[in-house]
Amino acid sequence: MMPPLLPCAGPGRLGSIAALVGVALLGAVTVPRANAAPPASVLPAAPPAPPPKAAGERPTGDQSAIDGDPKARAEAIAKARAAVGDRDVQVTASIVVKVIHPAEARKVLIDHTKSVGGWPLLVTNQELHLAVPLAALATVVDQVAGSGIVLQKTLQRVDRTDEIVQLRAKLKSKREILARLRGLLDDADTNSTLRVEATMNQLVGEVEQLQGELNVATASVQSARVMVAFQYHQRQRISYVNSPFQWLNKLDIDRFLGDF
């Protein structure tokens, strides 16, 4: 049995300690609902929930955003940056580019990314994922596009404001419960101390998990992601559909090579 952390208090306080532990447990196991504030008796008022997302703020795959001329691309990326100003927006640019020497292109892109304050997240023979400061996104996208023949480009914006606000609110409430429990240990007897400790251990685990999720979510909106693929390799996209025009159904790489 673990020794109590602090001297025990009299048994008269057992009822109130048990009640507080019960409240803590309830808080620990209850999954807060979206836009719901924690109980006022335990927690201070949570930040107000953000308004529902408008259609324009939903995750978007914006192929045309970085298609076309550099001016349009710059405007699209500037728009993405502007959105980041008042909302927590995760910006991801995906580019499929064909280059003659992927290894050389990869090295040049990594060097350029580092020079503008970014860093590589994933480096493989066929893929390169980069984290770049939002301000440098346009230059990195241009660098990638200029390194070869661009087959496909998309710019995606995902609003993570709600998620981050909720994570912060949950974290704050759990930390306050933890602080209250810590205060109870001064006056608790052995049994109560053990129960409080068990609850605190559980809460600490949850706080750490929430803090990790918050760190990931916050980091994802503080820099943009550039996903570069050197190969158009989406095999699952090739499907067999029938055309009403018979000769079109013969247009197929396997048929062509087989008949050649």
């Binding site: 064909k98 190969q231 095999r235 090739i238 559909v241 055309s243 025009f245 000769w247 079109l248 247009l251």
Partner: protein, 161 residues
């Protein structure tokens, strides 16, 4: 009693010879003239123009029925829609006139094949009741090296007189 007139033996022999000659001369299927693109060699024994590069980029012409009868923009659009629906990535499209004034359209598609990115290029010409289809394919990087010479060769395309 009804008697069925019989063909004389010599007439059957003549018919057989005519059919054989027609087959040998390729009657019923249009024949095309197409200059060999730079870097390609021609398969002399294949029916219709067929070419290949040392690293395996292939080009071949074939004929399809223009049915239902439609014009070039119709077929170019239908072809693009069909292949995009299948998941091919449209990489480029251009329409042009050959040296003889024949209008054609080329669409290049990228697709995964055998662990590599390949290009399948389809060029269509409308020839009355027929469609001439020039098909070229090869791994992306190898195709890119000869795409200009292919485009130049397409300008020489014409139905054989």
């Amino acid at each position: 009693m009804i008697t069925v007139p019989r063909w004389p033996a010599w007439a059957l022999e003549v018919l057989a010879l005519v059919a054989l000659a027609a087959t040998a001369l390729g009657c019923g299927a249009p024949v095309y003239n197409l200059d060999a693109p730079q870097g390609f060699v021609r398969y002399e024994k294949k029916k219709g123009p067929a070419f290949i590069t040392p690293d395996g980029v292939r080009l071949r012409a074939r004929t399809e029925r223009n049915y239902p009868k439609a014009d070039l923009p119709f077929w170019a659009d239908a072809m693009e829609r069909h292949l995009v629906a299948r998941g091919y990535l449209l990489h480029g499209k251009r329409c042009f006139k050959t040296a003889k004034g024949l209008e054609g359209c080329t669409a290049e598609f990228v697709l995964p094949h055998a662990g590599e990115d390949w290009v399948l290029a389809e060029t269509v010409f409308v020839l009355g009741d027929d469609l001439a289809v020039l098909e070229a394919a090869g791994p992306f990087d190898r195709y890119q090296k000869v795409s200009a010479s292919l485009a130049k060769a397409y300008l020489s395309f014409e139905p054989a007189p």
